[in-house]
């Protein structure tokens, strides 16, 4: 039952109907979100990495050399950089999504005409930027302790970006799945933290017993750190090409999974 209409449909804002993308704005919003609290999102992880560096370097500098010629402090810095990058890249989308879900403002992202690809690209893009910024700051601060040039900066950059993209995607998946902070903390503490700490941040996996060496090679995070170190020393536990293949394959697999979740509206659209 309806009344006959004589009124003409009112046009939407002409620019809004031309199909402009919401991606740049969502990316900018996610960047602003961490930038506005940069003490917590950038300075704090840098200080944490610095503490690890000071303590471990103090204890082990004169006792351990890695790859036969690399002093322990130098070996440790890329590991700490990558660890900070991974944890922060994970934290950005996961904390944004869980906060938006709990406060209810997620609806502002769901009402506009953004596709699942745009949403994915914006969250993961912001995660990569935050991760790389934190990693760069850790490197800058560590220069005070030891001059550590990158021998192959392109390798380091490729591994930094891909690794942050992996963790950004995992953060997105965790943020979609978690309905409360408790669940997100479980994801973080029982999966991300052990995978990062047991991946060769503080040691070369060649120093491990054979069983744990084999286990480490099943941990994709190991390849992110190992490949990143190659960019500094042109030496690593695994071939950088092998590491790149693993890291790329993991990224593609997680991306497909995350896109599927977003496209299906998993826990977003009832």
């Amino acid at each position: 039952m309806s009344i006959p209409s004589t009124a003409k449909p009112l046009p939407t804002h002409p620019q809004a109907m031309t199909g402009g993308s919401g991606f740049p704005t969502l990316l900018k919003k996610e960047l602003l979100r961490f930038w506005k609290v940069s003490f917590q999102t950038i300075a704090a992880p840098v200080v944490t990495a610095l503490l690890y560096l000071v303590i471990f370097a103090q204890v082990l500098q004169d006792r351990v050399q890695v790859y036969g010629m690399v002093p322990y402090t130098s070996f440790l810095i890329p590991g700490l950089m990558m660890m900070s990058m991974l944890q922060n890249a994970f934290a950005n989308p996961s904390s944004s999504l869980i906060q938006s879900r709990i406060t209810g403002n997620l609806v502002f992202i769901l009402l506009p005409p953004m596709s699942h690809r745009e949403i994915f690209a914006a969250y993961v893009g912001a995660a990569v930027v935050r991760g790389v910024v934190v990693g760069f700051c850790v490197w800058l601060v560590s220069l005070y302790f030891v001059a550590l040039p990158m021998k192959a900066p392109l390798w380091a950059l490729v591994f930094a970006v891909l690794s942050c993209a992996i963790m950004g995607t995992l953060g997105l998946i965790a943020g979609l799945w978690s309905e409360k902070f408790d669940q997100l903390a479980a994801f973080q503490n029982f999966l991300i933290m052990p995978a990062t700490f047991l991946s060769g941040v503080f040691y070369s996996v060649h120093t491990l017993p054979p069983f744990w060496q084999a286990v480490s090679h099943w941990n994709p995070i190991f390849y992110t750190i190992d490949g990143f170190r190659y960019g500094f020393f042109l030496a690593s536990d695994a071939s950088p090409w092998h590491s790149l293949a693993v890291v790329f394959a993991v990224f593609v697999g997680l991306t497909l999974f995350a896109l599927r979740l977003l496209a299906s509206g998993y826990k977003l659209r009832t």
């Binding site: 009124a7 939407t12 804002h13 953004m114 009832t270």
Partner: protein, 264 residues
Amino acid sequence: MSAVSFEHVSKIYPPRHAGWKTLFRGPSKPGLQALTDVSLKIEHGEFFGLLGPNGAGKTTLISVLAGLSKASSGKASVCGHDVTQDYQAARRSLGVVPQELVYDPFFTVRETLRIQSGYFGLRHNDDWIDEILANLGLSDKADANMRALSGGMKRRVLVAQALVHRPPVIVLDEPTAGVDVDLRRSLWEFISRLNRQGHTILLTTHYLEEAETLCGRIAMLKKGQVVALETTDTLMARFGGDLEEAFVKIMNEPAQQAQEEALA
């Protein structure tokens, strides 16, 4: 082409398992039937009221229209654009003011509106944003953080966010719940002006006197079914009183009888 169209829309919410159980358990019992075979059309330029008691399915119906919920069966469209097949055009044609007082605490009012504009692909929209701010009495709060606003002011920002892309169809889900008389009056003046300019308005409210004054046509939902769908005047004439009386009588009728009357 109607401004809004629902064709035989039904919605069953699946039973929910919390947390880890979602990984291991499938549905173990039937879900909640929130909407049953809802069909109605709203024409361009109408001020349409959607009424019903709590849990009647009003918000679910709006959620289906906005793409926040997926209909279990049936079709919904905005300005002829199917909300699932042609979701981008449908969402560009629709502005929704949500029921809950939600906001992003990181941003100021102006940033919030610029961001919302950007989500719709609008980069330089400050002239329109200024006009909305002025019309909603928010100009002096433009640079205030969202956290610093009162509940009424936050409600105004929600309305502003729904209007940033100048949608032809505006949905207001209980926009005056818990707001003071002044805001209510200024909000309705603004919304009525938008309606006079040609915007189609779909309003849900529990304030029946508002619906009686503003809405030209009304649908009533009860337990997910349309039990009345008529012009406001016809509805009141049929029950010989005001809208509240009609509402109470319709809600107390047996569902079957009410639905037959609505569809007659």
